[in-house]
Subunit: 339 residues, 2 copies
Amino acid sequence: MARAWTLASRPAGLPNDSNFAMVETPDAPLADGEFRVTNSWLSVDPYMRGRMNDAKSYADPFQLGEPMTGGAVGTVTDSRNADFPVGAKVLHMGGWRDSVVLGGGTTSPAGMPPVRLPELGVPDQHWLSVIGMPGGTAWFGLLKVAEAKAGEVVFVSAAAGAVGSTVTQIAKAKGMKVIGSAGGADKCAWVKELGADAVIDYKAGKVLPQLMAALNDLGETGIDVYFDNVGGEHFDAALATSREWARFAICGMIDVYNDFKAQPMQYLPMIIGKRVTIKGFLYPDFYAQVPEFNADMAQLITSGAVTGRETVKEGLEKTPEAFLGLFSGENTGKMLVKL
Amino acid sequence: MARAWTLASRPAGLPNDSNFAMVETPDAPLADGEFRVTNSWLSVDPYMRGRMNDAKSYADPFQLGEPMTGGAVGTVTDSRNADFPVGAKVLHMGGWRDSVVLGGGTTSPAGMPPVRLPELGVPDQHWLSVIGMPGGTAWFGLLKVAEAKAGEVVFVSAAAGAVGSTVTQIAKAKGMKVIGSAGGADKCAWVKELGADAVIDYKAGKVLPQLMAALNDLGETGIDVYFDNVGGEHFDAALATSREWARFAICGMIDVYNDFKAQPMQYLPMIIGKRVTIKGFLYPDFYAQVPEFNADMAQLITSGAVTGRETVKEGLEKTPEAFLGLFSGENTGKMLVKL
């Protein structure tokens, strides 16, 4: 039997347990070209919230009653496909379930074909974190979208999250000054451990005065790059402290995913005087450059410049709980489910 | 005697008459290299509001008790400079006064040296409007910042203003579809006359539903380019209706110049899903490309594709009134003072 989490109902605002239902289906025999992957690691990510709505946001919506999809790593346990033999490790989008049939005439979950894990000497679960989608989001956003350069000042929100913690480490490895924002003393301490030059605790006070104080302490007049994971107050504070020609890479606005509520923005006119460039981006826009990212990131990992940290929940049953934890800030680093 | 408007006091919020004072100074004899320009046209522009504050916004602040500066066109009436002989027509920044001494050891007002008007067959006052700074702002913003292309849908706010009316005409001349926003039936009718495919009256209702209705009428699914002159509600509506890879050229946010009040923004997360690029810019960033702009614009004017329209106040006394009129929407096209 294969077990999978399906979308039981669409949430209004913050999702809860009632939006998910587990279904069991018997294992069907494989057709030619198909192979069965038994999952060992599942990813839960903030972008999935958008797919729970009945409207295209970043990606097509999840269908009611159908298994949800998401990044997963597993091992081929049955195969009628020579490219994916038994024992091969596979990165694919058939997450939210314990096993999945891929290849042949099946439709790839989320429209993304499975790939075999390259042999780059990194632990399996890192393919869902630092060297996977969140890590790539960090790498492409910082280096390709914002074009951050050595010596520049980078401000990153949700710096203890999967993407933000990787941004912090890449930026330090590439010679930038980093100010990270995180919620609570523990997370802030960890961001500091990652190498951030200054850390702001957004739960301890307003972002803007803390950001200005951090810049002052570092002897800097403003920020050159903002890597946005949260939107709202952080985004406004970044505008307020922009230097001329600052670049913003906008990757997530978790503050506003659950309710498209109006955010009070005071410093948008800074865009003009400082000639700020603000760019939204999505990881899939950079598929063609993933090998370049993988090669650089494997080196950063094996040299110790970047360390992957994961918050792990054990067991398929915990998948909704892991996902919901993203919105209450439960994770330090990447949130994963281990099967 | 030379008469000049000085900054008498710094405004809090909307400026008024008491912020300006006229002073008279005797005409000094010219030193070597100097020349006297008797002004015939003065420009008043929204960006001057920022310079009335005691803080660098786009440009250095005006100094209390000193003559204000701004674009002006005049004729050399006295000269000890062979490059600017008596009778030469000059575009310079010594506005807000009836005559000014330039060249030699004088400091160029606003740090921008005077230039002789090129012979391109356009009326003098157009050098302060369609073929001057506002026209250049339109041309560079639309074509170089937003990189608008034939067939794309361009939304422009303040489409009856100096910059917006030129954006509308350039966009039509270059094969784009244009939706303009203006305040009141008269201005809307004029924007339609300029060639806009659809016009929104922002005084008659909310921007977003009107913009969606206009797109629907034109059979379009969204906008590709937004040329922002006002910020606030227009900016939010442009985000809400962005197509993928939309580009925003942010040139002015007149809604928020007078008070840096928080604006409620609901659609910022669209930046991510639609991969919107938002860029602030200032005309001076493009000085090196002004000859290219002048050549193209002279052709657009002489071919009849772009017509300059000016709202003219007569007499130096009316300069503050003309300036204040910008914030109550008194002008259709460029606001000028004729001496």
